[in-house]
């Protein structure tokens, strides 16, 4: 059928990536699509080149590491991989969610969780994530009462 076990993935901005099939199917979405469309999958979303390359790198790494049990190396690599700014993190997040790559999604959600944990109070969380306080006055009072034990 095909000469190699590679899939060609095209992102929305017309960049084509050749990816080993075993890596491509780390994405549940691509897995489903390839069984339908045979060897080419069309990635039809706001996936710019950068997140796509990162996704591919990470999936690649995971497949390689499956043979070795080098937990420290993997977690070191992972912490560097996720050391991006909030905008990039958001892109990674949306990509991982859309492509349904579970391991990547877990890594990103954990990183976001770490960011939240590091925030000492509500205002810092809002600033870090660019969130607006849209509570009505009464609702804000209810929340404050609910959280009065958490005064730190």
């Amino acid at each position: 059928m095909l000469l190699s076990k590679n899939s060609a993935l095209e992102s929305k901005d017309n960049e084509i990536f050749e990816v080993e099939e075993s890596i491509a199917i780390q994405s549940e979405l691509i897995k489903t699509m390839t069984t339908m469309v045979n060897s080419k999958a069309y990635v039809n979303e706001r996936n710019q080149m950068v997140p796509e390359a990162r996704c591919r790198k990470q999936a690649n790494y995971h497949v390689e590491q499956n043979n070795k049990i080098v937990d420290e190396e993997l977690s070191d690599w992972e912490s560097k991989f996720f050391e991006v700014d909030m905008d990039d993190l958001h892109e990674l997040f949306m990509a991982a969610n859309y492509l349904e790559i579970e391991s990547l999604l877990n890594g990103v959600t954990k990183r976001v969780g770490d960011f939240i944990k590091a925030c000492k109070n509500v205002e810092v969380i809002r600033q870090t994530f660019g969130i607006n306080n849209d509570f009505a006055a009464q609702q804000e009072e209810e929340i404050r009462k609910l959280n009065s034990w958490n005064h730190i």
Binding site: H90, F93, I116, R126
Partner: protein
């Protein structure tokens, strides 16, 4: 951008957060707040992560109903938690995941209720079929913790006194069970008279469930244990080591097995585990210096209390006296001793040295809907 992530993804992020971080996150905006209130956060991470150790809730035994104090073992911090949402002062009976089963203290007849002090919710259970005073109460949690913060459970009520057919009171021999899956009480068996008497006269409310058996222990010397094997409807009784020398004794469940913690005046406090044939094996002793620190110069263990979760055992006295803790480390199968400072002040305000009753719970901000 971040403020309108879909709920399923947001809940995944939230599942990594400790209760205090989650409380802060939910206060940022309406969307994040709604997520906490409407999307159950799966607790599959709970048993795996240090960040989800059970918290120690200290309920004052006098002046109940205003506040309680809660110890967060992850950041070694005490919090003041308001109980003004309770309609009546209560005494804790057992913890069920994120909830506490309580009984109102102003009622002589047994009535039970559920409460979550973090969501400020309180709900009475329906009254049992038979009205009784001073029964023993036992709780069995049905689902594993992985199923969520509010698992299904059963409550067993045994002993106590009920109204006799021709007036006066008699020891109640019918065993009743409440099932949360259908919110109903059922009569499920009988209690032999000798056990009914002991359960009524000599038993505190706590029971321990281990390997299909509900255990209760008498509340004073000479300590002895009663066990009800649920499936076989069988009752049995057996003794404990140094039964007439122990000045305090408590039953708890550790690693799934029945465990006894007790202190005697001349010696140290010890921990035993129940083995085959209802025999006790000594597994650990409380370190002498820590025991002495907790006793605070007194020689008697009589004022010491003890409570346990799956991964920790706490010995405590009053709110300010400090606690001696034996708990499971991150590398499993290793347990270590720690001293925890008592609660003297919160947020700059001094806290009185109140006598307390301790109970563990896994705080959860998701409202329960029983």
């Amino acid at each position: 951008m971040w403020s309108n992530l879909p709920f399923d993804v947001l809940a995944k992020i939230f599942s990594f957060l400790s209760p205090d971080s989650l409380a802060r996150a939910r206060s940022t905006c309406r969307h994040w707040n709604s997520c906490v209130d409407t999307y159950p956060i799966t607790t599959s991470f709970i048993l795996l992560s240090l960040h989800h150790r059970a918290w120690f809730l200290a309920l004052p035994t006098r002046n109940r109903g205003q506040h309680c104090y809660v110890y967060n073992p992850v950041i070694d911090n005490w919090h003041l938690l308001s109980l003004d949402f309770l309609p009546d002062p209560v005494r804790p009976v057992a913890s069920i995941g994120a909830l506490i089963l309580v009984r109102p203290t102003n009622c002589t007849v047994l009535q039970l209720a559920l409460c979550n002090p973090f969501t400020r919710q309180f709900r009475y259970l329906p009254m049992s079929n038979i009205s009784r005073t001073n029964p023993a109460v036992g709780v069995v949690t049905l689902d594993s913790v992985q199923h969520g913060p509010n698992p299904n459970f059963r409550v067993y009520v045994a002993g106590g006194m009920s109204e006799a057919p021709r007036g006066g009171a008699m020891y109640e021999l019918k065993l009743e069970m409440y099932d949360s899956t259908d919110d109903t009480w059922h009569v499920v068996g009988f209690v032999p008279t000798e056990f009914a008497v002991r359960l009524t006269v000599w038993t505190p409310n706590e029971s321990v469930y281990s390997n299909g058996v509900l255990y209760w222990m008498t509340s004073a010397r000479a300590y002895s244990v009663m066990g009800y094997e649920i499936d076989g409807h069988r009752w049995r009784g057996f003794g404990v080591p140094m039964a007439d020398k122990l000045e305090f004794a408590a039953l708890l469940c550790r690693n799934g097995g029945l465990t006894l913690v007790g202190g005697a005046s001349e010696g140290e406090a010890c921990i035993w585990e129940l083995k085959e044939g209802d025999r006790w094996g000594l597994i650990e002793k409380v370190p002498m210096e820590m025991g002495r620190k907790l006793l605070g110069g007194k020689r008697s263990w009589g004022s010491i209390k003890c409570v346990g979760s799956e991964e920790a055992i706490y010995l405590y006295k009053e709110l300010g006296s400090g606690m001696v803790v034996w708990r499971e480390m991150e590398e499993k199968a290793r347990w270590a001793w720690f001293w925890i400072e008592g609660c003297h002040s919160i947020g700059g305000n001094q806290v009185p040295n109140l006598p307390i009753k301790g109970v563990f719970l896994h705080p959860n901000l998701f409202p329960f809907t029983f």
